[in-house]
Symmetry: C2
Subunit: 296 residues, 2 copies
């Protein structure tokens, strides 16, 4: 898409027949990451991951990113370089050009990432078309990020490998694209805030309710159901599809689980219910990922 | 351009025959503004102004903006609301939709503004096509922002009106558009860092040198030539045009001054020279706007 980096602005050409996708995500030191816990590379990776995951949730393809970066003067050049290397490493994997940005001074590291993407005109997958009777699906395993965060916050020793693995997830772009191409999802969102919160977003935008089957939720090894429901930052895709469509158990190598069903809009507030399939259901209040600073 | 706000992403349609312009600008409290000096409204205005001015410098039309905003929990809701009101007030003047963004916690107010714009395909005005013999022009009056800043930093009393006037400048979109439509500029940039710095950018990108005529620089009332040359944040347009093109002294109601001439690239480092027209010239080192925190 990029024609080349301009000067006051970047100049980009959008393919005819494509809509433009735009998402922005701001990451702040001690709110979204801690320098004591996370390597500069993993922070750069994570910042871009958030934007790429949003593009995946629309069924789109990322094309370019822009980075506005605030850094303190006391920060080492190595930290900044490693941050950029982490970001560019992930960008390169998905053919995304770093097309511009801004830099400034800031006491805390502050990175705002803008990701542009494309999707065939009129085909972006929104959150608003889930219908009663649709099945609810999720990719991958949930709760891993919450599990890691809990251990880090408890001061437990966690191998560098575990931190890297959980913090350096890959966006589900291939799955999102596969689903959108085949017209499978009626609604889709990425799991950044937590299943209970993100599913509530779909319910609200689609004006429906949802029933989750607790035994069907794919819980990451070591994590609890609670972490899988409310943990957030799993960057998996949550989507709904008509019951008559057969959704395979693996898409582009990623496991896909059927975890519940969309119901008609409720009279009362509780939009998301949980329980055993066919058993008694209880309301699942949206309660998701909280910033580090709140938990401390 | 906007089809509507999406959910994980905004979905926008770019007109066929147009290129997309993208610019990002990050504003940080105590670096780019001080809450003691600047009203929340004026800060919101100024943040967006920076992006709109970049679009003007490409000869483009702004279409949508995105705001990533970090706010501390101790900040009043009124401050945040006034900030948004200032931003939206300016956006409304130029028909720019606030199409999305992100919010987070942050100790210092941190606002990253992304502005999207459009320009007929292949017609964006870059910094790189100034040619020897071209005349150099600037819109408006220079040095006003530096004058105000100096008084504020010296603790002098400055009327609220002066602060508002200097901090709430309007982007030169109509002038940029007028110039681009008529194919006037060979190169263009907006004056954010200061004339000496921004002209050096044009010289570097175009691989030329420049001669400025000190008596021709339009200095704002109260300001000094020094402030006009190095002050920055004037958000006027600096452009070059072939000598054979007649550039009117006012465009869209804004005065335009002819302030110098482009010369062949020098053998030595100094790209920008200054002196009386036809008289002896001295090098003008690029020395522009510095963040508040450096000056303190």
């Amino acid at each position: 898409m990029a024609l080349g980096i301009g000067d006051d602005c970047a100049v980009l050409r959008v393919e005819p027949g494509s809509d433009l996708l735009v998402t922005t995500d701001m990451c702040v030191e001690d709110i979204h990451f801690k320098r004591a816990w996370h390597t500069a590379r993993s922070v750069g990776h994570r910042c871009l991951l958030r934007g790429l995951s949003d593009i995946a949730a629309m069924g789109g393809t990322p094309t370019a990113c822009f980075l506005s970066l605030g850094l303190s003067e006391t920060l080492s050049a190595k930290w900044a370089n490693d941050f950029i290397a982490g970001l560019l490493g992930l960008a390169g994997k998905f053919n995304v050009a770093l097309a511009g940005g801004d830099t400034t001074k800031s006491e805390k590291v502050t990175a705002d990432i803008v990701v542009l993407g494309k999707v065939p005109s009129g085909r972006a997958v929104s959150r608003s078309r889930a219908r009663p009777g649709d099945k609810i699906y999720v990719t991958g395993m949930l709760g891993g990020s919450a599990w890691l965060l809990k251990r880090l916050m408890a001061g437990e020793s966690v191998s560098r490998l575990s931190v890297q693995r959980q913090f350096c997830l890959l966006p589900r772009l291939a799955v999102g694209d596969w689903l959108r191409e085949r017209g499978v999802p009626t609604a889709m969102i990425d799991l950044s805030d937590g299943l209970s919160v993100d599913l509530a977003h779909i319910c609200k935008e689609s004006n429906v309710a949802a029933e989750l089957w607790s035994g069907a939720i794919p819980v990451e090894r070591g994590a609890t159901l609670e972490m899988a429901l409310h943990g957030g930052e799993d960057y998996e895709l949550l989507f709904t599809a008509p019951a008559k469509i057969r959704v395979p158990p693996r898409i582009e190598g990623v496991p896909v689980s059927s975890i519940g069903e969309i119901r008609p809009a409720p009279n009362k507030a509780a939009r998301v219910l949980i329980g055993e399939q066919g058993g008694k259901l209880r309301p699942l209040p949206p309660r998701g990922w909280e910033h580090f600073s709140k938990r401390n």
